[in-house]
């Protein structure tokens, strides 16, 4: 198991290198460069081209593409993420500052959607064809098809403005730092962020559960004279769980992507919000690092999925 994890982590390295190269290449291909972003457009037009060229040389932009990539990536590997163009803050500091907020939000949403989605999906499967099942199906379709920011705005309107139960947005107030103080701020964004995924997990858990219940071993379990709950939960749900775990794992990056919008709506000071402003202000060193971080999240999520499936399903044995 440990050797398997080590080996998987090693195979991540070439993948990360290739992807980081693609990210760098993508930004290289966008029009303009650092200099054109640093100098206001009206001043840029009236500047002496030789002066601009000089500036480029001094920033190292005159070097060939591959060399510049090498300088960037070797810096990243050594922990030097570079500086944000807006304000010159080290990107590492921005990450340290913003990452916990994003992780907090994502994991809260992941937890809610996993638990709620599996339970509702199982109920739906067990009461197949009933009013409960049909009601949940409709709710699930709505959850999947209505965009999250809409839910977010409606939730703010209802729960924060009309009912005044929860704060409108933000993560914390000065002087109130404990998790419990922050909890009311977390509730709405986490719930809204989890809606789409809850609906997805629910639909998936339902079909996975129906599939499991139609298998022969369910009949065997019944023929043993065990009560129905044990047949359904221990034999049905346990087997239905594996594909659901895989789905949840692969949704993890979507969750981080989704939080970009939700962080905007709720003024949540996370990476996603930072990403939007970085793109807007063409702060490309920061954009690259956020993109790289998302890639890492995807890769690590898939590793976690593999490990979880191996734990849950005895037929999957790792590394042999």
């Amino acid at each position: 198991m440990l050797t398997y994890i080590a080996r998987r982590l090693l195979t991540l390295i070439p993948m990360v290198i290739v992807i980081s190269f693609l990210i760098y290449l993508g930004l290289e291909l966008t029009p303009g460069d650092a200099v054109s972003h640093m100098i206001p457009p009206d001043a840029y037009g009236s500047m002496d081209p030789d002066r601009l060229q000089e500036l480029r040389e001094s920033l190292g932009l005159g070097k060939p593409f591959a060399v510049r990539y090498w300088i960037w990536i070797s810096g990243v590997v050594q922990g030097d993420f570079g500086y944000s163009l807006a304000g010159g803050v080290p990107i590492a500091d921005i990450f340290l500052d913003r990452l916990p907020a994003t992780l907090e939000l994502s994991f809260a949403a992941l937890l809610i959607s996993t638990i709620l989605g599996s339970i509702l999906g199982t109920i739906s499967a067990l009461t197949r064809g009933s009013a409960t099942d049909q009601g949940l199906t409709v709710v699930g379709m709505l959850g999947v098809s209505i965009p999250e920011f809409f839910f977010g705005l409606v939730a703010i309107l209802v729960f924060a403005i009309n009912l005044d139960w929860l704060p409108v947005g933000g993560r914390t107030l000065p002087g109130y730092d404990s998790f419990w103080d922050r909890l009311p701020n977390l509730v709405m964004p986490a719930l809204v962020l989890s809606i789409m995924m809850t609906a997805g997990v629910m639909r998936y858990a339902r079909s996975s559960m129906l599939d499991a219940l139609s298998r022969d071993f369910i009949r065997t379990a019944r023929s043993k004279g065990m009560p129905e709950w044990r047949v359904n939960i221990l034999h049905g749900f346990r087997v239905a769980l594996t594909p659901v775990i895989v789905l949840i794992g692969f949704r993890l990056p979507v969750l981080i992507g989704g939080s970009v919008i939700i962080e905007q709506v709720f003024q949540w000071p996370g990476i996603g919000k930072e990403f939007v402003s970085a793109v807007r202000s063409q702060d490309y060193p920061l954009v690259m690092m956020v993109a790289l971080f998302s890639v890492l999240a995807v890769l690590i999520a898939s590793l976690i999925v593999d490990l979880l499936t191996a734990i849950i399903d005895p037929r999957v044995r790792l590394g042999e």
Binding site: T220, R222, K224, G225, R238, V239, D313
Partner: protein, 335 residues
């Protein structure tokens, strides 16, 4: 009484409902399973063999029910009317598994892949016996050993996918036999297995019958198996038992054209390659659009006008019965 009767089925009718149509899957079936004997139920696919088993176990699918008839289990505490019990009720569950156990056609899919074999045996013991944790584990090992599984101490913790097909069916039998049931229902237990393994499994079942006095109801479509294992045989066709009796009588002196056709369709070793194998002409009728009278009439070479009416169950002798208008002619034709 020479042989205790373990289970009586009388006039059983089980119907399936589908889009407001009714499939009379079992249409008046009666038989007995005798203690310590093997009853074979033979017939083509779709003739109601498995539905009979599911009716006895009360494991019918949702859109089907027992319409009429009696299923009586003669347990140690007196007779129990199984058909009157609630499907999922406590009393039915205490019979299912403990008194009447079942093994299924495909051992590849009948075991839960995410639990160890041991877990799946111990689960049964947990519900039907008062054994403690440790004792259950030991009993599971004993059971596997008695089923002829090598290294049971290690095998008990292994998962089904590490077992071969034959071993899985042995494990299934170990589960079924774990609480010493009075009746074992085997629904085509070897159809999915190699012929060599098939013989081993049947041998095992025969040993269990002799040693534990278990009554066996074996569902099969293989006349060869019937000849080998059965004490009694019931031939089913489209929801009826068309002929039933002790195996010797039925095999040696079959009086229903369908039984005869089944026997004729088996190649016999030693008769050479040119022997005539008579396939049964035609196909089984659509269960939703059955013939009015004898269900076999359309495929029968001996059809007469009277066959448009359902023939009654008639006793040929004390223990041999048939559903055919012309059985007397066949009984005396010296075959």
């Amino acid at each position: 009484m020479e042989h205790d009767v373990a289970l009586t089925v009388k006039g059983l009718k089980t119907y399936f409902y589908n889009n407001n149509r009714c499939n009379r899957a079992i249409d008046g079936v009666s038989f007995e399973i005798r203690q310590g004997k093997t009853l074979c139920i033979v017939g083509e696919s779709g003739c109601g063999k498995s539905v009979t088993a599911a009716s006895i176990m009360q494991l019918l699918p949702t859109l089907s029910r027992i319409e009429e008839g009696e299923i009586t289990y003669h347990g140690p505490d007196g007779p129990v009317r199984i058909d009157a019990l609630d499907r999922g009720g406590a009393q039915m569950r205490s019979i299912r598994g403990k008194e009447i156990a079942m093994i299924f056609q495909d051992p590849m899919t009948a075991l839960n892949p995410v639990y160890s074999i041991g877990f799946q045996i111990k689960e049964m013991l947990m519900y039907h016996t008062g054994l403690g944790r440790r004792e259950r584990h030991d009993k599971a090992i004993d059971l596997l050993a008695s089923m002829g599984i090598p290294l049971p101490e290690r095998r008990v913790n292994e998962y089904p996918h590490l077992y071969s097909g034959g071993m899985r069916q042995r494990a299934m039998i170990a589960i079924a036999m774990s609480c010493n049931p009075r009746i074992l229902i085997a629904d085509e237990p070897t159809t999915a297995l190699d012929v060599t393994i098939q013989a081993q499994i049947f041998e095992l079942m025969d040993t269990l019958k002799r040693e534990n006095g278990t009554a066996i109801m074996l569902i099969t479509h293989d006349m060869g198996v019937v000849a080998e294992l059965a004490d009694d045989v019931a031939v089913m066709y489209m929801g009826n038992i068309v002929e039933a009796g002790p195996v010797g009588t039925v095999m040696r002196n079959p009086v229903h054209p369908y039984t005869r056709a089944l026997l004729d369709s088996i190649p016999v070793l030693g008769r050479g390659k040119d022997q005539e194998i008579k396939a049964i002409p035609g196909q089984t009728p659509d269960p939703y659009d059955r013939p009015k009278g004898c269900q076999f009439a359309d495929r029968c070479r001996h059809r007469i006008d009277k066959c448009d009416q359902m023939p009654p169950e008639t006793q040929v002798s004390d223990d041999h019965r048939v559903m055919c208008w012309r059985y007397e002619e066949f009984a005396s034709d010296g075959r």
